[in-house]
């Protein structure tokens, strides 16, 4: 069972990085949003440094949506999802493997690249560390919540827009605590650990609820 699970993760990572996959696109999109913000707000570095964590988190939320609509849809269209459902691997674990692969190709690169992009919004090294840590812990929650929407819209031809409408409200708590934790690390009345631990809890809850709900959503549509 572990081998099947790992094989599925490896397959999805391979698909994401090859031609036609959305592997690096999320990162480019992330950079694009971070670049647009100074154009909208002006090149004031003090202002950008203050709202930097918020900008990076917002960019991460939007970049997670990339590729999410194809999470189950591509497999649904060519029939491989039916084969995956016939395999001895429980559907919940299939969903977990696919979500994990999605996070490894979108969330993790964002977290790793965040310090680099933090330079663009004049973040201090301390803030960069905080952003990286919060993105590392928080982006899995975004993927797991998004998986529910991806499963619900997997049979629709134009599910992308609907997917965003369905899952963005559910991502609000993650956004709130991600930005709070990053800001808390820069000073303020709240210790860093409080929002950070809640962010961690949100990720754990999303991993359980998201996987089970996405698997159920795939099952009930027959």
């Amino acid at each position: 069972m572990t081998r099947a699970f790992l094989a599925l993760v490896a397959r999805d990572i391979r698909l994401a990085t090859r031609v036609g996959g959305s592997g690096a696109l999320g990162l480019v999109f992330f950079l694009m949003i971070v670049t647009l913000v100074p154009f909208a707000l002006g090149p004031d570095l003090n202002l950008l440094a203050r709202i930097g964590p918020a900008v990076l988190w917002l960019a991460a939320v939007l970049a997670t949506l990339i590729g999410l609509d194809r999470l189950f849809q591509a497999d649904e269209e060519d029939g491989s999802l039916d084969l995956l459902r016939l395999s001895p691997l429980p559907l919940e674990l299939t969903v977990l493997a696919k979500a994990l692969a999605h996070w490894l190709t979108t969330g993790l690169p964002l977290a790793l690249a965040a310090p680099l992009f933090g330079l663009l919004v004049a973040l201090t090294p301390r803030a960069m560390g905080a952003i990286m840590a919060t993105l590392f812990v928080g982006t899995p929650a975004l993927t797991f919540v998004g998986a529910v929407g991806a499963a619900l819209t997997s049979r629709l031809r134009r599910g992308g827009l609907l997917l965003s409408i369905l899952v963005l409200p559910l991502m609000i708590p993650t956004l709130i605590f991600g930005v709070s934790a990053a800001n808390a690390a820069l000073g303020g009345t709240v210790p860093f650990a409080t929002p950070f631990l809640i962010l961690l809890a949100l990720t754990l809850v999303a991993a359980v609820v998201g996987t089970a709900a996405a698997a159920a959503a795939l099952r009930v549509q027959d």
């Binding site: 609907l162 369905l166 559910l170 708590p173 605590f177 709240v190 709900a213 549509q221």
Partner: protein, 246 residues
């Protein structure tokens, strides 16, 4: 009782009797409640006449949540007990709940302008209601994307249940976010206690709006059952025409 009502025919007969009674009661109680609230209750010593918006605003807020509760219960009915009318109830409840939430937002904005000097503030309560409205919009959008009503109902049930797990989390995080951003609230919505001269009309209007909501819900369910009948009849007819031509 619930099992007997699973038969759409029985439900249509039963609700045909219950609907006029509920609607009539709603009209009577609302007339009494709003009459008391708008004409008999005293104006607030601070807020003046604008306090009368409360008699629309507060029941609307309560019903916005109440109908999400109905949807969640019906979603459980759809997924767990496969009750044939649960998805009908779920579908009928969504637009009503969305409408009450919108009424709550709009009356809140209109009340906020004279009281706080602005139509909108990012207060925790307002933001939570706005998020609730967004979730209603998502649910309504998902209903419209599936052609088969049964499949749509099961998909929406999952979204509704995930939403009902998330609503307390969202509420909690919005409270946290708000206290972090503006520690001292400029306004206090709930004074020490509400005077009985306003409380009783408020309770009566809340009851009236609940009855109105239930009447709308019943009528929405009846419409949905009839719509499904029309749908299956036209499918049957199309099949018959198909056979004749073959």
């Amino acid at each position: 009782m619930l099992t007997r009502l699973a038969n759409p025919g029985v439900f249509l007969r039963w609700s045909g009797v219950a609907l006029p009674i509920t609607a009539g009661l709603a009209a009577a109680v609302l007339a009494a409640g709003l009459g008391m609230g708008w004409f008999l209750a005293p104006a607030d010593y601070q807020q003046g006449e604008t306090v009368r918006i409360m008699f629309l605003h507060v029941p609307a807020a309560w019903l916005g949540l109440f109908f999400y509760g109905i949807m969640s219960a019906s979603a459980l009915g759809t997924l767990v007990w496969r009750h044939p009318l649960a998805d009908v109830s779920q579908k009928a409840a969504a637009p009503i709940g969305a409408a009450f939430t919108l009424v709550c937002l709009v009356t809140g904005a209109l009340w906020g302008k004279p009281m706080w000097g602005t139509y909108w503030v990012w207060d925790a309560r307002l933001t939570s209601v706005l998020v609730l409205f967004l979730m209603y919009c998502g649910i309504l959008a998902l209903w419209r994307t599936f052609e088969d009503p049964g499949r749509a109902a099961r998909a929406v049930s999952i979204l509704t249940l995930v939403g009902s797990v998330n609503l307390p989390i969202i509420k909690y995080s919005v409270d946290w976010w708000n206290t972090l951003h503006q520690p001292a609230s400029v306004f206090r919505l709930d004074g020490p206690t509400i005077h009985p001269s306003m409380l009783y009309p408020l309770l009566v209007t809340a009851l009236g709006f609940t009855l109105l909501g239930l009447a709308l819900h019943l009528s929405g369910m009846r419409t949905e059952i009839l719509r499904r009948r029309v749908r299956s009849l036209s499918i049957l007819e199309a099949e018959r025409l198909d056979l004749q031509e073959a």
